[in-house]
C-alpha cells in the first residue's frame, strides 16, 4: 500500500458545520440552489462537492452504496480513509448512495424506503447532475416551499423523475435526494411533489 489519499476538509470541525448548514438549508427549502461553502480534493468521479457532502454526513455508522459509475479504487480508498464509512454491495442496506449520473440509481425501490414504524431508516441519495438553476424547469410543491418553486436540473432523464414519483404513494416512507452540480446543491425530500 503506497496510496496517499487526497486531502479532505482543511478544518474538519468548521467545514463540517458549514456544510451541514448548507444541506439543512437545501433540505428545508426544497428546490433552492445552495452554494457549498467548502470543497475537498476528492478523486473523480466523486469530486470535490460530493466529497464534502460525504465528509459532513457519513461516518463508520453509515454504510454507503456506490453506483457502478462511481465505484473506483481511488474513491473507495478516499472514503475509507477520511470518513471511515464502509462501502457495501447490497444497496437495500445503504444509508447513503452516491452516483455520477441519476439513471445509475435506478431502480429506486431497491433502496430502503424505511419501515412504517421507522420511516427515517431510509436511504438518502446523493447524485451529480449537469446543472442546477432556479426559476424554470421542474415545478415543486410541498413543505418548505411557500407556494411553488421551480428547479432546472440538467442531465437527469424523465424516467428518473417518474421513478421518484412512483414512490410518493408510500409516504411517509420514501427516499430523500440531494443533487449536486459542481459547488451547488439542491435537495428534494420525499415530501416534495415534482411536476415535470
Amino acid at each position: 500500500m503506497n496510496f496517499v489519499p487526497a486531502p479532505g476538509f482543511a478544518d474538519p470541525v468548521m467545514d463540517a458545520t458549514a456544510m451541514f448548514r448548507a444541506v439543512l438549508a437545501a433540505m428545508a427549502h426544497p428546490g433552492r440552489v445552495v452554494d457549498l461553502p467548502v470543497a475537498t480534493q476528492a478523486p473523480l468521479p466523486l469530486g470535490g462537492g460530493l466529497g464534502a457532502l460525504l465528509l459532513a454526513l457519513a461516518d463508520r455508522e453509515t454504510p454507503l452504496w456506490l453506483a457502478p459509475d462511481m465505484a473506483s479504487a481511488d474513491v473507495t480508498a478516499w472514503i475509507g480513509f477520511h470518513a471511515g464509512a464502509s462501502v457495501i454491495q447490497d444497496r437495500g442496506q445503504a444509508v447513503f448512495a452516491l452516483a455520477d449520473k441519476a439513471e445509475a440509481l435506478l431502480p429506486l425501490d431497491a433502496f430502503s424506503v424505511g419501515m412504517p414504524e421507522y420511516p427515517d431508516r431510509s436511504a438518502t441519495l446523493i447524485v451529480k447532475v449537469a446543472s442546477l438553476g432556479e426559476g424554470t424547469g421542474l415545478l415543486l410543491r410541498g413543505p418548505g416551499i411557500a407556494e411553488t418553486a421551480r428547479l432546472e436540473v440538467g442531465g437527469v432523464p424523465k424516467i428518473f423523475w417518474q421513478a421518484r414519483d412512483e414512490l410518493s404513494p408510500l409516504y411517509p416512507l420514501g427516499i430523500d435526494l440531494i443533487l449536486c452540480a459542481g459547488a451547488k446543491i439542491a435537495a428534494l425530500p420525499r415530501t416534495t411533489m415534482v411536476e415535470i
Partner: protein, 278 residues
C-alpha cells in the same frame, strides 16, 4: 471561548449522528426520529435535547437567543446562552429580530419569525399519545397507521366533562396532514404561529431521545371538532407594562395581600413595545 472542548461542546461523531437525525426529521415533518442522546452537563428537564440540537446546528456566525417561558433573563435561558457563548464563542442577543438561532423553552416569540431563522424547542415528552398509551411499541404503530382516534376521544372527553377542550398547553397538532405531533408545552396561544411559519422549527427531547422538525411553510393544524373549533386564550385586560392586548400574559403575584398583575411573557417584545411608547 473555552479551550479544551470541541466547538459547541459535542464531539464530531455525535454532531454527525444528530445532524442526520435532523435531516430525516425535516424530510418527514412531525415524525419523531430516534437519536442517541448524550449526557449533557445539565440535568434532564433543563433542555438537554434542545441544547444538543443547537450544538449540532450552530455555526460561528450565528447569533443566539435563548428564552425560557418567553423570558431572556431566567436561570435556564441565561445558563444555556452562556454555555454557547463559552463553548462556541457565538454572539448572543435578547432581540428576536437579531437572532439567527433561537432556543426556546415553552414559548414562541411574539414577533413573527423570518425565513432563515431557526427555532429550537426543548421538549420534555415528545410523544403526544403517551398519556393515552404508555407503550412505545403501540404508539409507534399508531403513528405508522395514522390511527389517531384515541386523541380525538381524549379531546371529546374534555368536552363531555368540561364543555370545552380543556388542554391549554402542549395542545396536539397535525403536521402536513399526516403526523400528530406534540408542540412541546407551549401555550395553545402559540399554536397558530407554527402554521406555515417561514422559519425552520426543530424539536429536541434529550431524555426521551427524539428529534423532530417542521420545515418552513408547512401546515400545522391544531386538532378540533367542527362544533368545537380550536380557540386560543384571551385576557380581559392588556399587559400592565406595555399595554399590548394581543400577546400571551403571565399572572404575577406582587405582594402577600393577593395583589396581582398581568404582564407579557415575552420579555423582549414587551420591552420593545415599552421603548416604542416612551
Amino acid at each position: 471561548m473555552s479551550k479544551g472542548y470541541n466547538f459547541a461542546y459535542l464531539d464530531e461523531q455525535t454532531k454527525r449522528m444528530i445532524r442526520r437525525a435532523i435531516l430525516k426529521g425535516v424530510a418527514i415533518p412531525g415524525y419523531q426520529v430516534p437519536f442517541a442522546s448524550r449526557e449533557m452537563p445539565l440535568p434532564y428537564g433543563w433542555g438537554t435535547g434542545g441544547i444538543q440540537v443547537t450544538a449540532s446546528v450552530i455555526g460561528p456566525n450565528d447569533v443566539l437567543k435563548v428564552i425560557d417561558q418567553g423570558a431572556d433573563d431566567t436561570t435556564n435561558a441565561v445558563s444555556i446562552r452562556r454555555f454557547f457563548a463559552r463553548t462556541a464563542g457565538v454572539k448572543t442577543t435578547e432581540r428576536t429580530s437579531e437572532a439567527s438561532l433561537i432556543q426556546t423553552r415553552h414559548r414562541i416569540p411574539e414577533q413573527p419569525l423570518k425565513e432563515g431563522q431557526i427555532l429550537v424547542y426543548q421538549v420534555p415528552i415528545p410523544e403526544p399519545l403517551r398519556w393515552m398509551e404508555p407503550r412505545e411499541t403501540e404508539t409507534r404503530k399508531m403513528h405508522a397507521l395514522a390511527e389517531y382516534g384515541v386523541m380525538h376521544v381524549k379531546l371529546y372527553e374534555d368536552i363531555a366533562r368540561f364543555g370545552r377542550i380543556a388542554s391549554s398547553y402542549n395542545y396536539p397538532v397535525l403536521v402536513h396532514g399526516r403526523y400528530v405531533m406534540a408542540p412541546s408545552p407551549i401555550p395553545k396561544f402559540d399554536n397558530p404561529k407554527m402554521d406555515r411559519m417561514p422559519a425552520l422549527q426543530l424539536f429536541g427531547a434529550g431524555r426521551e431521545k427524539r428529534i423532530y422538525a417542521v420545515p418552513p411553510y408547512t401546515s400545522v393544524k391544531s386538532l378540533d371538532f367542527e362544533d368545537h373549533p380550536f380557540e386560543v386564550q384571551r385576557w380581559d385586560k392588556p399587559c400592565e407594562l406595555c399595554g399590548a392586548s394581543d400577546t400571551y400574559l403571565d399572572e404575577v403575584i406582587t405582594d402577600d395581600q393577593g395583589a396581582r398583575m398581568f404582564v407579557c411573557s415575552d420579555s423582549d417584545a414587551c420591552q420593545e413595545r415599552q421603548k416604542g411608547a416612551a
